[in-house]
Amino acid sequence: MMDAEAKLTLLKQRNPFASSSVGDPWDSPYPHVPSINEQAFDGLCHLMAQKAQAPALNCAGLILGEVGSGKTHLLGRLLTHTATTQPPFAFAYIQPIEDPEQTYRYLLREVIVNLCRPAHTAPYETQLDALLASVCCDVIDRHSRPQGKDKLQAIQREGLNVLTYLRPAVLEYAQKWAIDLLCRAYPEMSVRFLQVLFQFRLPEQRATAVNWLKGDGLDSAEAARLGVPERFEASSTRLEQEARDMLASLGLLLARYRQPLILCFDRLENLESGAQVQAFGKMVEFLVDTAKGMLPIACVRGQQWQERFRHILNQHVTSRLETNRFALQGCTAEQALALVRSRLASVLDAEAAEAMFPFDAEALKQLFQSGFHSPRVIIARVNERLRQILDAGVVAQTSPSQILLEAFDRQVRTILQDFDRYPPDRDRLRRALGLYLSYSSPRSRGSIESVERPETERKYIDLVGTLQTGSATSIPVTILIDVEPHSSAVSASLTRGIDCLGPEASGLVVYVRDARCPLPPQWKTTHEKLQRFKALGGQVIVLDRERAARWYALALLSYAVREGDITLITAEQQLRAISQDEFAAFIQQAFGGDTEFAFGEIETRLGQSGGSAAV
């Protein structure tokens, strides 16, 4: 058994109270305390059970709770629960939507990205594999002889991956049978969706199939290989309709094969405009009324729901959400102690955790018996006490910038660990760049002012602003962010960049691209256009893995700050959320003028342009 000193050392190395925020339910490292928010959890489990019994049931759930009340942790608990339900639920965690003009495409992309995450139960690699296996079993069982049926049942009984037992020829038959069966049963089923879903199984086609299923555009060669029409020429309305049809088809499969999907909409405070809130409402309405087998759950701050969302969303949506409303409740003193004990048990042995080492249980109880306390307040206060014990009473105050930097670094690490879960995303890159340009410190060669999203030309141009140089010269700045994989789309974007440069090349035009969307050498015309863009003075920035991760991390961190998820304890022992001003100061401090950091390349390019303009 460890002595007290060893236990303290362990707590210092792995402080279980260091974080009071669950950034993402997929990555929640902390144990659940059954009694906390038990009513809400039980209610949601009943709702899931009902949905599993009747996948066509039109229902949704609403979790109301203020900052730190455990909304995201509750989602993590539901995620754990999905693995134990019979049938197992699929799970999708949906970040807030940025562009309301792409509502269904965004929803489709988020759903497919989540379904392609590693499944939490064997034998299937991903949740999408499990669904495809169910389709295959269904049709093979219908068309097999008794001997084949027995073999199939034996594979299933043993809990083995059916898909690995299917030869390519059998898979081809299965695809044909599935299309016949499912399109006859459901006239609204998309044949193309089924065709691509079956190609997802083929290793050489898997990545392309996933991209198509997410709603991405493919280049001509990839589209031809997959046997699907190109999306580049399609209008926004057409693409939205296609995404909607694919979601509806997916829902039919989920319902038929009893693999319901729970979709959790979190961090909704980040829906800044009325249009974004309405886009969220449109998704909920579609999921409840049209898509089968999908159960939307929304997490909103109570006050925001009552004073904002209810007044923007139509009654059709609010009534659907409020029918199954669960208000989270703070912890009693006993629950607070249980929470502390469970966190201690994640580091120390059971006996030490039970004894609440190194705390005085009675003093902690007294601290928390003044009423309900949110889990975040409890963890933050206990963390302060632990730090006082570990540091012999001297607690160094952590600055907001330090806290934000730690949260940012954590987010970067999370992204890099599972980079595929954060696919190239123009909206989030725009958000990150907008934050950086708005708040980073003035550069030696000038500063960017009035950064905004243009009212027109939004299809290609992401941000416009003005570079004020030391010589009082103003240079218009145009930024194009492009993650399109189709040569025509890239060419069109570069053409717009060339147009912005103009004949005298008086402005600064920056073309940003995620390195995961390379320009293949065979796109000769596109490469020529890129050279012309550069020759006219256009700046090209290709974000490598490390740098892209930092951009995405900044966008996600801004969601967390907006939600009040990043907190600190002041010198007066007050727990409070990091403010937007402190976040702005952090961006200025962490990224401004540092050419080696996340935005170094942008910084260098702007500096060069400011210099040349001044000359």
């Binding site: 109301l64 203020e66 109570g302 018996q369 003044s370 307040v377």
Partner: protein
């Protein structure tokens, strides 16, 4: 622009306390220290009785001030809990004896001893004996959060009538919602700030209501001021009724 005379008086008293570097003053000291204009506007003279002066001043004290009733006189001071008052006084006069401290604080003996014992029990204040056996008080080196009074130590004022009035106001203001703004409740009830805070503390301590942080960016400065700040300094904006109706 019209100025709010009520805010003026509150601010003037706060300025006076800051100037004198005190947390509280007797009612007559406050009146004497006010500028002539507000004194005339409220018809205040030092020749009036303390009770008469208090009846005129109390409605104007706002969120940041409260009336303290000591064993010998009445005081007006910053809105502080008994524990805060004691700690601040000891910080100003480290080593003060418990008896001396008692005579200087604007509170009766019983609540003073109760609050001091709470501070000693939690270690926020330490007691040492001088050579002549006089107990003298010091604030602990490590600043710990001030303890929140337990339900037993509160002088219960949440009578069934007060509780019913609170619940009725909650229902009316909230119109069926789960998250009711505290400043609206405060305004609807019209109680003195200290009375409202005390009732709210009692209802919180008995798990009858739950306080929430809410979103301060949605509130004006006045609404924030009329919300509720606990002894740890945490701001609460909305509340939910959790107890029996």
């Amino acid at each position: 622009m019209d100025t709010d005379p009520l805010v003026d008086v509150e601010q003037l008293v706060l300025n006076l306390l800051q100037k004198r570097e005190r947390d509280y003053l007797t009612v007559k000291q406050i009146v004497a220290g006010l500028p002539a204009a507000p004194r005339q506007r409220l018809a205040l003279t030092t020749s009036q009785s303390t009770a008469a002066l208090l009846s005129k001043l109390t409605p104007h004290l706002g969120q940041h001030l409260q009336v303290y009733r000591g064993s010998r006189s009445s005081y007006i001071g910053r809105h502080l809990s008994p524990e805060d008052l004691i700690v601040r006084c000891i910080q100003q006069k480290p080593g003060i004896s418990s008896k001396q401290l008692g005579t200087q604080l604007p509170m009766a003996k019983k609540p003073y001893i109760t609050a001091l014992n709470t501070l000693l029990k939690t270690g926020a204040v330490v007691c040492m004996l001088r050579e002549n056996h006089t107990p003298c008080l010091m604030v602990a080196d490590t600043h710990m959060p001030l303890p929140v009074p337990s339900p037993e130590t509160l002088e219960a004022i949440a009578t069934p009538e007060a509780r019913s009035a609170f619940k009725a106001a909650y229902d009316e203001v909230g119109q069926g919602g789960d998250f009711v703004r505290i400043h609206r409740l405060r305004n609807a009830l019209g109680w003195s700030p200290a009375h409202f805070d005390q009732i709210l503390r009692e209802l919180t301590a008995t798990y009858t209501v739950e306080l929430h942080g809410g979103d301060p960016s949605l509130l004006t400065a006045a609404e924030l001021r009329d919300s509720f700040t606990d002894p740890h300094g945490t701001l609460y904006i909305t509340m939910s009724w959790r107890g029996r109706p």
